[in-house]
Amino acid sequence: MEFVRTQRVRIQTDAVSTLPLYRSAPSLEVRLEDFELYAMDRLRVLKGISDGLSRGKKPEEMKKLVDNLWKANMSHPDSSEVINKDIISHFVLRLVYCRTEDLRKWFLSMETALFRYRFLLGSSEDKRASMAEFDLPCKAVSSAEFENVRDKLNQVARSIGLPILTADAIFYKVPFEEVPELIAGRRVYIHKGYAYVAMHQVVSLVVTQFRSILSKALILTNRKWTSTIREQEKDRLTPIVEALCTSYLGPDYSQPKEFGEISVKDLDQISKSSFPLCMRHLFDKLREDHHLKHGGRMQLGLFLKGVGLKLEDALAFWKAEFSQKVGAERFDKEYAYSIRHNYGREGKRTDYTPYSCQKIISLTPGVGDHHGCPYRHFSDENLRAALDRMGVGSRAVEDVMDKVRNRHYQLACTSTFEAVHNSQCDAGINHPNQYFSDSQKILQSKNNAAA
């Protein structure tokens, strides 16, 4: 792509499909203003998708959401520009989000989700066109073979709540590796390494292809970015690119700022006053069992780092608990490493960022685990009891439970915050560390007022 400051754009694109696969950067000129504006518009769509997913919206709701987001942000008065805007904004954000593993991961999942729902929203002609553009590794199941496995296919259909198959149902046979999400959800019959994919599930196959192509492309873009583009464009594009991702995603709470340090002796008190339920539950369980499994240690450990617990204090804190269960020696040998690791003192030496709500909600705690989002992962009864312990009044509990039923977990947490602090939280809760710092702010101002 070429970027020019004010002239009109010279379009030279051969992409006609309404759903581009973004295989290669188009050769067209883009005004610098559009470069940024288009990217911001697309970012709004991706952020909207991210919010929708973290609220646990169902596929049908997501489809509607994506449709609305796309119409609201990605239209263009000049209809011939629409496809260009789509392509340009994608490639700009590719530059923005190619630069670290975390950014790539986020962009990859949001773009993949966007592609999925746009594919589903398309007409059957659009779908066929997209399928033809990919070189899909599948073959149609012959009618003789279909009869052989029909019972099994029906069994799968029933298990996912679909009607019995008709005799003319179309199935594709693909290596199971190509449809991981259908495997993960047990939504296909698999036999001897092949998955039997129904026509309506083809989206999964297409999405997997899209994802794998984009994933590879992002690595390449990153190489190009670090080797040439960043330097060449240091006066023009680089500042825009670098500003774009921070302008929208909010702080990552990897460095405690506002409240300086927290010492071990304060932890009990602030856990009661200012920890969100997910962290308070972990904290209480740790005090009770003197142990937490890996997922819990990560979620709580990184949160405490964000809160301002220094490495030395963190080691002392975890050791005091764990040594009661496994002994001090075993703690030093087996657990201290991962705590230093979280603080970037071991291994890759990355300073890890505390988990966001979105990440916590997406976790899948298993037997013996206490991490995850209580609003999502607790049973009704346990959640009510936990809220009661936090001092949430019965009316507010109903409000929280109502939001939980609608799978608005972050809103449920926000309501809890408001009930506990007896004050508004308009921005909503997006991050456990944000919950903490908002809580501290309120408590401090109350203290000041009292003094």
């Binding site: 991981p180 993960a184 047990r186 001897k192 040998k333 037997v367 013996g368 209580p374 346990n382």
Partner: protein
């Protein structure tokens, strides 16, 4: 990465038994281990396995393959050496003999020699990444603590071990019939569980996402003690679950576990099961039948009560109650995998034929076809093996000393049932891909 399995505290080491004056004292120590690595450990078999045919003379062999595999050693004093790599069988063997690791873990094959990863990292481009790894599973009996009453924690006995047998049957069948894998190795973890290595080329090249998908395919447990139910089934069962249920789980639950774990014998225990049934009219009726009196029939009380419960749920006035029976059986018997181990290529797993420092037992392969015959309490221990060596006479064939000990059976099984078929298919695969490549170059030249 935490190594939760590495329980190397040797403080509660067993001291020799009462009247075994002349025998090797029981237990485990570095001196025994030295002898074991020197005379019994099948170094060469591990090497052949990890080469996957790349140590041959075929032009398609990748000579760097074995050297890019990570081994990691846990030493006597809990020093943990990661990213060890070796270029030959003899290098591997002499390092093991010299360092005498209490535990050997096997990691992935990396893009470059893991021992030289820092040199490659200088280039800036992150070229150091795992490229191949067996698909592995780790099943640990401690994860069943809420459904077994005979033992808890790291203890196992013959009452609860069958849970592992069931896990092997369910997972092994699915790996072969559903996913089409052929080269599968099951290994006793030395104490409280089993490990599974799926070694087909296709399995070794799976991405993390694909590994995660397979792990999820096997997952029926949602939630934990913070949510009510362990297993939540919604409609008719997927063919995989239906097959597991009818072919393995149901028979095991009714014919074995129900009585051996006394699942319905006391109020506390049956209440746990009743809490899994949401319909209160059913639970209160059953409670009425069971409370305060022991059954007077000759039948086992657990079997009797289970029959009543099943009858009530299945004759059901309400639809869908039959599914509760499934849920109960799945909760008590379905395999509980440590998902994280399977999901990522760079997870380490203990090598077969290691000796568990706490039990002294060797991590020997388990034959999935006859897994019900496997008895964890009869697995050879380090001291038993040394005893056998001592009494076995001197001057026998030096290479195959294991053959005259009780380890012989296991090494022979490893070779004949796993290693040989594996290497045969590695060779064929190599041949096919080489010929395809040749054909391609030929075609390119022909025009």
């Amino acid at each position: 990465m935490t190594i939760e399995e590495a329980e190397n505290g040797r403080d509660d080491m067993l001291i020799d038994g009462p009247d075994r004056a002349n025998s090797i004292p029981d237990g485990f120590n570095a001196n025994y281990l030295k002898v074991y690595y020197g005379r019994l450990f099948p170094h060469f078999d591990i090497f052949k396995w990890m080469c996957y045919g790349n140590d041959g003379k075929h032009p398609a062999c990748d000579k760097s393959y074995f050297g890019r595999r990570e081994f990691s050693f846990t030493l006597d004093n809990d020093i943990y050496l990661r990213f060890q790599s070796f270029n030959s069988a003899s290098e591997l063997e002499s390092s093991i003999r010299e360092k005498c690791p209490f535990k050997i873990d096997i990691g992935p094959v990396y893009s470059v020699d893991p021992a030289k990863r820092h040199a490659y990292a200088q280039g800036g481009d992150n070229v150091f990444a795992p490229v191949e790894r067996e698909l592995v599973f780790d099943i640990d009996i401690t994860d069943y603590d809420d459904v077994r009453y005979c033992c808890s924690g790291a203890d196992v006995c013959l009452e609860c071990w069958p849970l592992m047998t069931v896990a092997i049957k369910v997972i092994d069948t699915a790996l072969r019939d559903d996913f089409g894998f052929n080269h599968i190795l099951w290994v006793y973890s030395g104490r409280r569980g089993v490990h599974c290595w799926v070694c087909d080329g296709k399995a070794r090249r799976l991405t993390n996402e694909q590994r995660g998908a397979i792990a999820d395919y096997f997952r029926v447990y949602k939630g934990n003690e913070n949510s009510n139910k362990k297993v939540s089934l919604t409609g008719p069962l997927h063919p995989f679950l239906a097959r597991s249920y009818t072919e393995v789980l149901m028979a095991f639950f009714e014919g074995n576990l129900l009585s051996s774990q006394n699942i319905l014998s006391t109020e506390e225990r049956y209440e746990k099961i009743l809490s899994m049934i949401p319909d209160e009219s059913v639970t209160s009726e059953l409670r009425g039948k069971w409370q305060g009196r022991s059954s007077n029939s000759k039948e086992d009380i657990n079997v009797h009560r289970w029959g009543q419960l099943k009858h009530m749920l299945q004759s059901g006035k309400q639809k869908g109650q039959g599914l509760r029976v499934h849920e109960i059986v799945f909760t008590f018997t379905y395999p509980r995998l440590d998902m994280e181990v399977s999901k990522h290529m760079n997870h380490l797993l203990k090598a077969p034929f290691c000796v568990h420092p706490k039990t002294g037992r060797v991590c020997i392969p388990i034959d999935p076809e006859n897994c019900e015959e496997f008895d964890p309490t009869a697995v050879p221990t380090l001291s038993e093996l040394l005893q056998e060596l001592n009494t076995g006479g001197i001057g026998a064939d030096v290479d195959d000393e294991w053959d005259k000990t009780s380890l012989g059976k296991s090494v022979r099984f490893f070779r004949s049932s796993f290693l040989q078929p594996l290497l045969k298919s590695c060779k064929e695969e190599m041949e096919t891909s080489y010929n395809a490549k040749l054909q391609q170059t030929k075609n390119n030249l022909s025009w």
